[in-house]
């Protein structure tokens, strides 16, 4: 069955690996024949979620981030997980412009972009345990 496929990337929470995660996701996605626009959307969403693990989840410490990608027909599922500080109020965190790191010039637009560029975004988070962002996008051809 060539219309299912899955992969997992586990990597250090270093800023240089944000590019690695984006390129790996874009490469995995090519088998669904996406438009350039769809690839750009996916890369932005992945970049937001991974940057959040690095800046917020681990607050600059080096630990592992996990990215799971799964394809089912033209549906692409992306899960990005850290075992960092977690989010106390997910609903508030997902509001546009809300950020807990304004001093780092975060714009508070991360979750807004994820929601704009993917079809579905849900967040599981437990304070002190970690955060998992689940995203889904259907690639139309």
């Amino acid at each position: 069955m060539e219309n299912t496929n899955e992969m997992t990337l586990i990597f250090d929470s270093r800023p240089v690996n944000e590019g690695l995660a984006r390129i790996t996701a874009a490469s995995f996605c090519t088998q669904l024949n996406p438009t350039l626009e769809e690839v750009a959307d996916l890369k932005t969403a992945v970049s937001e979620a991974v940057t959040n693990c690095i800046i917020h989840g681990y607050e600059g410490e080096i630990h592992k981030i996990r990215m799971d990608l799964r394809r089912k027909g033209q549906e692409l599922f992306v899960d990005i997980t850290d075992q960092g500080v977690g989010i106390a109020d997910v609903k508030k965190a997902m509001e546009p412009l809300y950020t807990t790191k304004p001093e780092k010039e975060r714009s508070g637009m991360g979750f807004t972009f994820m929601e704009a560029f993917m079809d579905e975004v849900t967040v599981d988070s437990t304070v002190g345990v970690g955060t998992s962002v689940h995203m889904k996008k259907t690639i139309r051809r």
Binding site: G19, A40, T51, E105, G110, T112
Partner: protein, 109 residues
């Protein structure tokens, strides 16, 4: 690939690299703040000609420079912006504060 800074009088032009993400935005923030601290800069022009990718870190960078230059009308300009970047600038509401010029062949705004 890094950003290229070009200062002429009170105008600072920043030619952005292919990907404007979190590490790149941090770098550009530091360098442009260093310049602002030394020379009087009235206008900053961000040139997106080579830029294909951006995320919300770039939005933070633009809004941060807007604040650094005193939030004056027209103090920040984004030029040669492609459709993906333009989408980000509008979604984030940044287009209300900075001047945007689309890349040629894509029509101006």
């Amino acid at each position: 690939m890094s950003a290229i800074f070009q200062q002429e009088g009170s105008v600072l032009m920043i030619h952005l690299p292919a990907d404007v993400d979190h590490p790149v935005s941090d770098e550009i923030r530091k360098e442009s703040d260093r310049i602002i601290a030394n020379v009087y800069i009235r206008t900053m022009i961000f040139d997106f000609e080579k830029t294909g990718f951006m995320d919300s870190s770039g939005i933070g960078l633009l809004m941060g420079r807007y604040r650094a230059l005193g939030m004056r009308q027209g103090c920040i300009r984004a030029v040669q912006v492609n459709s993906h970047i333009d989408k980000l600038l509008h979604l984030s509401g940044v287009h209300r504060y900075i001047e945007i010029q689309r890349s040629e062949g894509e029509g101006k705004i």
